[in-house]
Structure formats: structure tokens, C-alpha cells
């Protein structure tokens, strides 16, 4: 059994993460690779009655991080590539942005524990992509988002990336930037595939 390569994307909502990861998924599957895309944690959290977006709590944040980890690990045996649509750092950024949005102070011990949980996952990712909010791009009309919170999340994500000196590929709101991101994903997977021991996939 091979260990799948993990690639994740982070970014505030409506910045093209899902479309990009769906395209990456199609590109990789087109080469015969088995690809899993981990996504939809927000909907599942809401279904459990957990608060989301600007109402996030420490508990909802911890659930999102833990559920994301579990989802990724669940694909260890059936996938060559795992694409994570929302890296764990999203959860902490959404939480700290929610606190700022609500004007609530953070409790250092709680925040530190969540940060450690997120930081512990970083080595898993062979590649991290980060979208950047384009203020000129209107939000899709069907999305009922608070624009201030969306901007806060964008800032908290990029603050975290800076603070932790993370290595990542920035994806801006242009076709060229998205094309480069897809090309980078394909190159990184090709390098990983060609350097790792390979067995025919078990069907």
C-alpha cells in the first residue's frame, strides 16, 4: 500500500477554492490516479447543530479540525492523492476571525490548544495552496455572507500563514494564477508518483 500524497487549499469563502480543487481532481483522475476530495465539513457541522461562520466557537472549531483529519485519514487505503478543500488552518482562522467580528477576547489557553492541533497537521501536506480575496470580485448572489467577516477570515488566514512561516502557493483571482496552481499540483504529484514505490492499484 502506498501513502497518498496530500494537497490542501485554504482561503476565505467564495474565492474559487472548490472549483480549483474540482479541476485538480479531474486533471489527476484523467491520468488514472485514484483521487479523493475532502470537503463539505461546514454542511456536516451545521447538520450537527454546531455554529458556523461568524458564530464559530472553540468546540465547533475543534470538531471541524478533527473531522477533517479523520476524513483525510479515511482515504489512506483507497486513494493515491487526497485533495483537502479547506486545510485545518481555515478552522482556526474562521474561529479567530469570528471572535474579532463579535468583539470577543480570545482565551489564550483555548486558542493555543487549537493552534497546536492545526500546526500538528501541517507536515502532512506536500503542497498548500492559498486563495486571496479579490475585493473587486462580487460575491455570488445566492450566498448570504457578511462581507466584513469574509474579509476578516481572509486576513486571519494570511496572518497565520505569515506567522507560521508557511510555504504555500498563492492563488489570485486570475485564470493565469489558477492555471499555474493546477500545473504545480500536477508537477508535484508527478514528482511524488515517480519517486515513491509503485504498485498497481488494488481494485
Amino acid at each position: 500500500m502506498n501513502t497518498p500524497i496530500h494537497i490542501a487549499i485554504t482561503g476565505t469563502h467564495s474565492t474559487g477554492k472548490t472549483v480549483l480543487m474540482r479541476r485538480a481532481e479531474m486533471e489527476l483522475r484523467a491520468t488514472g490516479l485514484r483521487v479523493a476530495r475532502v470537503h463539505g465539513l461546514g454542511k456536516r457541522a451545521a447538520a450537527l447543530g454546531l455554529p458556523k461562520m461568524q458564530r464559530h466557537t472553540a468546540t465547533s472549531t475543534e470538531w471541524v479540525i478533527a473531522a477533517g483529519i479523520a476524513d483525510e485519514l479515511a482515504h489512506t487505503t483507497d486513494s493515491d492523492v487526497v485533495l483537502t478543500d479547506r486545510a485545518p488552518i481555515d478552522a482556526i482562522a474562521y474561529y479567530t476571525a469570528a471572535l474579532e467580528f463579535r468583539g470577543e477576547p480570545s482565551k489564550p489557553s483555548t486558542t493555543e490548544r487549537l493552534e497546536q492541533l492545526v500546526a500538528s497537521q501541517a507536515p502532512r501536506y506536500e503542497l498548500l495552496l492559498a486563495t486571496q480575496l479579490d475585493p473587486a470580485e462580487p460575491v455570488v448572489a445566492t450566498h448570504d455572507y457578511d462581507p466584513r467577516y469574509r474579509h476578516l477570515v481572509d486576513r486571519h488566514i494570511h496572518d497565520w500563514l505569515f506567522k507560521t512561516a508557511s510555504t504555500y502557493q498563492l492563488v489570485t483571482n486570475t485564470d493565469d494564477s489558477r492555471d499555474q496552481a493546477i500545473a504545480l499540483i500536477k508537477r508535484r504529484v508527478a514528482f511524488y508518483e515517480n519517486s515513491a514505490p509503485y504498485n498497481d492499484p488494488q481494485l
Partner: protein
């Protein structure tokens, strides 16, 4: 440049047990469709096009391509099929369950084309893709000396990623590459599915008109909106384009009229709509300078947009078949009554699509089922979106 991912990866063959678990239609490698005998021994596609016919075969969730058999076995099966006629039967490769130009499928596409070509067959072969085609691919496609090869590039221009997650620029680039490098094969802009409100704005039509300059011919068609596809739309919160589903493609009258008005070239009496066609086989045969193998010339209202030169070719080739011959063939195929031949078509009873297509391709003359009549100006189309249909009801 990175080593291609495909370098160490081959397409696994499904086991007999796995094949037995597939929907029967999907496990059937060969299907006779209107545009030809269709070979589909590779199944599974990662391209999540919301309108794909894979929904009809319970195949949409099979994302990574898999092979049902070897290319050699598949070509043997095709050429020994009871409906296959050398040099006559049009062939389609991988047009139902995968895309023939996916990196992992492409070597098999080329291999099948080579196997057919090496047998000296001169049949039309249709390859339909929306994926990447580069100059090296074109060189291979040009290398076949016997088959009449046409590469159709599907381009919808739909911008809603829930319906069309594949970047339309990929198909547009492939079309230009194919056209620029074409020597022996021909390439066609397959502009579909056209859905009112999604991709029929003036800007959409202008874009298709521009793209059509990079193709030997252009076909425009509507949407297959069957129950399975409607269910997919509903489950993904995609607005339903029509209130009802239909067996045939839906191509509303008003969309067609706007497209024709935009493509119309008032100063070109020889080709007033350029190389624009309603039917796939009309475009394919036009691109090769031949008469339509489906005999659409009998449905004369379909021809009102055709170039004059093509009309002359189709007119010369279009001959009403001999009634005794057709009657004996229809009986052998299982017709429940003797056929009637009109100035438009052979009308049969009790024959499903494959034997009807065999008759149609054998004679180059339309063959219709008496139980499923085609209405005037709506040949092969659903009644949805046509005023006359409402008035008839």
C-alpha cells in the same frame, strides 16, 4: 519539465466479477447509436459534466477510467459484430462512458484507431472529446491512411461550474490545435448542449461563431434532459432548465432562430450559414466531402442551412431504396409489419434503434419507427420549446 504522471501507470482491466456488477448497458461494449456503431471498452470519466449521458448508465460515480477488455479484443468484437459492415458502418470510439483524449485513455484511442486502420477499413470513425489535444496527438491522428477520421470537440460555453466544471478554454484550445494541424483528419466544433438562459446569450453565440472559424464544420444541438439528469440537477441544487424531461434532445425554437440569425451570411449565396449543421452526420460527411450517411436529405427542412455544394452531393447520392430489398431485410431484422417507403424515410414497425440504424446506414436513407414519429422541423428533437407542438396538443 516534469515526468508525465502516466509514465508508470497503466489502465487496469476490470475482473469478470467486477464487470458482472455493472449495469448491463454499461457492460455491453458495443452499442449502435445514430452516429454509428459505438465502441466503449473503457469506462469511467473524471469530468463531472452535469449533463453527461453517463448519468443514464449509472456510470457517473465511476471517475477513474477502467478497461473491460484489451483493445485487440474490443476491435475484434466490433468488426465481427452482426451490424458491422466494412467501409459502410460509421464507428464511434469511447463516446459514452469516458473521454478518448484523457491521458490514461488516449493510448488506447490511438491503438484502436491503428488497429482499425491496419485492417484497411475506410469507415468513418468519430472521436468526441472536450479534453486536451496537442500537436503530437495531431501528428498521430494524421498518420492513419484508411479510416475517415473526424475529431469532434465538445464546447458548451456554460459558465456555471456546477454544470460545467471543465474549463471551456481547454476545448477551445484543442479545437484550434486540431484545426491548425489537420492534414488527413477533420475536426468539428460540437457546440452543445445549448440551454436557454445558460449559454445562448448574444455573447455566447458570438463566441461559438468565432470558434467555428477554427473547425471544418460546426454542429449545434440541445440538451438530453432525461429523468436521471434532472435528478442529478435537483440533488446538487442546480436550477432545472426545463419543467419536464424528454426522450429526445431539447433544442427550443427561439434559441435555434437566434443562432441562425447570427450565423447568417447574407452576401454568401453558396453557403449562407457557413459550415453550420443541425446534425452530427451532416457535419462529419460535409467535412470529408461526402453525402450524409444518415440520409437526412430526405428531411428537406433540415437542409435549409446547408452549403449549396453539400446539397448537391447529398442530392446525387440520395436514392430511394428498393422496396423488396428493404422488406426482406426488415423481416430478417424482426419487423412486425412490412415497411413503407415515403419520400422522406422508410417507416418500420417493431424494430428498435440498432436494426433501424443498420438499415439507415446501409441505404443512406432515413428509417423511422412508426410508433415514434418525427414532427416537421423537429427531427430528432423533443417537442419542448416549440410553439407548433403546443398548438398540436
Amino acid at each position: 519539465m516534469a515526468t508525465p504522471i502516466t509514465a508508470r501507470r497503466s489502465l487496469p482491466l476490470l475482473t469478470t466479477e467486477q464487470i458482472s456488477g455493472l449495469k448491463k448497458e454499461l457492460a455491453d461494449t458495443i452499442e449502435y447509436r445514430k452516429s454509428g456503431l459505438s465502441l466503449n471498452h473503457i469506462i469511467g470519466c473524471p469530468l463531472d459534466c452535469g449533463y453527461c449521458v453517463r448519468h443514464l448508465f449509472d456510470n457517473f460515480e465511476l471517475k477513474t477510467p477502467r478497461a473491460l477488455m484489451s483493445d485487440e479484443a474490443a476491435v475484434d468484437l466490433l468488426t465481427s459484430h452482426s451490424y458491422f459492415q466494412p467501409h459502410i458502418t460509421p464507428i464511434q470510439i469511447f463516446n459514452r462512458a469516458t473521454d478518448p483524449m484523457l491521458p490514461v485513455v488516449k493510448p488506447h484511442t490511438f491503438n484502436v484507431l491503428r488497429l482499425l486502420d491496419e485492417r484497411g477499413l475506410t469507415n468513418h470513425v468519430l472521436v468526441i472529446t472536450r479534453w486536451r489535444v496537442d500537436a503530437e496527438d495531431c501528428a498521430i491522428l494524421n498518420s492513419f491512411t484508411n479510416i475517415k477520421l473526424t475529431v469532434l470537440v465538445t464546447h458548451s460555453g456554460i459558465s456555471d461550474p456546477r454544470i460545467e466544471p471543465v474549463d471551456s478554454r481547454i476545448a477551445a484550445t484543442s479545437l484550434r490545435t486540431l484545426y491548425d494541424n489537420s492534414e488527413r483528419y477533420r475536426t468539428i466544433l460540437y457546440w452543445r448542449p445549448i440551454v436557454p438562459g445558460l449559454n445562448d446569450s448574444d455573447a455566447d453565440i458570438d463566441r461559438a461563431l468565432e470558434l467555428s472559424k477554427h473547425a471544418h464544420a460546426t454542429v449545434f444541438t440541445g440538451l438530453f434532459f432525461r429523468d436521471e439528469i434532472a435528478a442529478y440537477y435537483a440533488s446538487h441544487d442546480i436550477p432545472l432548465p426545463y419543467d419536464e424531461t424528454a426522450r429526445r434532445k431539447i433544442m427550443p425554437e427561439i434559441s435555434e432562430r437566434r443562432i441562425l440569425e447570427r450565423f447568417h451570411r447574407s452576401t454568401d449565396s453558396e453557403a449562407p450559414y457557413g459550415a453550420l449543421f443541425r446534425k452530427t452526420s451532416c457535419a462529419v460527411t460535409y467535412a470529408h466531402g461526402e453525402a450524409d450517411y444518415n440520409g437526412h436529405y430526405g428531411i428537406r427542412e433540415l437542409c435549409d442551412i446547408c452549403p449549396m455544394s453539400q446539397l448537391a452531393i447529398c442530392k446525387a447520392a440520395w436514392v430511394k431504396p428498393d422496396l423488396d430489398t428493404v422488406t426482406s431485410q426488415a423481416r430478417l431484422l424482426g419487423a412486425t409489419s412490412d415497411p413503407v417507403i415515403t419520400d422522406r424515410a422508410v417507416i418500420v414497425e417493431g424494430l428498435n434503434e440498432p436494426p433501424r440504424y443498420w438499415l439507415q446506414h446501409t441505404h443512406g436513407y432515413q428509417v423511422h419507427d412508426a410508433a415514434k414519429p418525427h414532427h416537421h422541423r423537429r427531427h430528432g428533437r423533443a417537442d419542448i420549446g416549440w410553439r407548433e407542438a403546443k398548438e398540436e396538443q
